[in-house]
Amino acid sequence: MIEWQMPLLGGLLIGLSSSILLWGIGRISGISGIVGTVITTGTKENGWRYAWLAGLVVGAVVFLKTKPELFTHEFNFSTPKLIIAGLLIGFGTRLGSGCTSGHGVCGLARLSLRSFVSVLTFMAAGMVTVYMARIL
């Protein structure tokens, strides 16, 4: 029996979060866009982006302190792998204008064909990569 309750609850919370941001201030919660914008531009418009990132980190710190068992997963990858993956994620999400949150959580719900194509493409690329990594 696969564990689906917490993933579903977590997913609903992510939906709630992006709905709050869209209804509240009219913005799409796209994480690569938020991060990419704050590191490359310095406008007053970035206030909500910093606040959003602060909320994300505060949530993580609170959970790390109160429920450390949720952070026991391993994160063991070689340094070259981390660097290559990081560069691909950073460059790729900006070139493709979004990641799992912007294209996935928000774009699919807006019924954007562009996001639908992006999600199918990065999922397929991720699946091929995992498969190749396993057989090589």
Binding site: G10, G15, S32, L70, A85, L113, R134
Partner: protein, 137 residues
């Protein structure tokens, strides 16, 4: 007001990523491993989030935001090489380490050196894209 709403949204997003185990790279790699021992539990994360928004966005998109501004929605509809190549590159990186940008940020609080190397490289990749755009312009 913008700041408070932004903060609350980020906070709830963080909780969602943590309790759903999206922040566990092995779990995510298991989700992408459809030809192996496929663990499809994380499909419920995207399903739950998109399902929720499918309902709420219909209501929200007909209105102005609570702070009185028009919604700032993407207008680009082009399915072009940039979209496809960007998505492929992101997907490869995602498959290599099992975290997308949100979970990478959340994992920073574990203070493991690996996550800082990854996040630093993500930021360099984003900067690199900006340089690339400026050169082309």
């Amino acid at each position: 007001m913008e700041l408070i709403i932004g903060f609350i949204s980020g906070l709830i997003f963080s909780i969602g990523l943590i309790i759903s185990q999206m922040i566990d790279p092995q779990k995510l790699i298991g989700f992408l491993d459809i030809l192996g021992n496929w663990d499809y539990s994380l499909a419920f994360v995207l399903g739950g989030a998109v399902g929720f928004n499918l309902i709420t966005f219909r209501f929200i998109q007909k209105r102005k935001s609570l702070i009185g501004k028009d919604l700032c929605l993407p207008t680009n509809k082009a399915i072009d090489n940039k979209l496809l190549l960007g998505s492929v590159l992101f997907g490869i990186g995602w498959g290599l380490v099992g975290v997308c940008p949100g979970p990478a940020l959340v994992n920073l609080v574990t203070l493991k050196s690996e996550i800082f190397i990854l996040m630093g490289s993500i930021l360099i990749g984003m900067f690199g894209f900006n340089l690339f755009e400026k050169k082309r312009a």
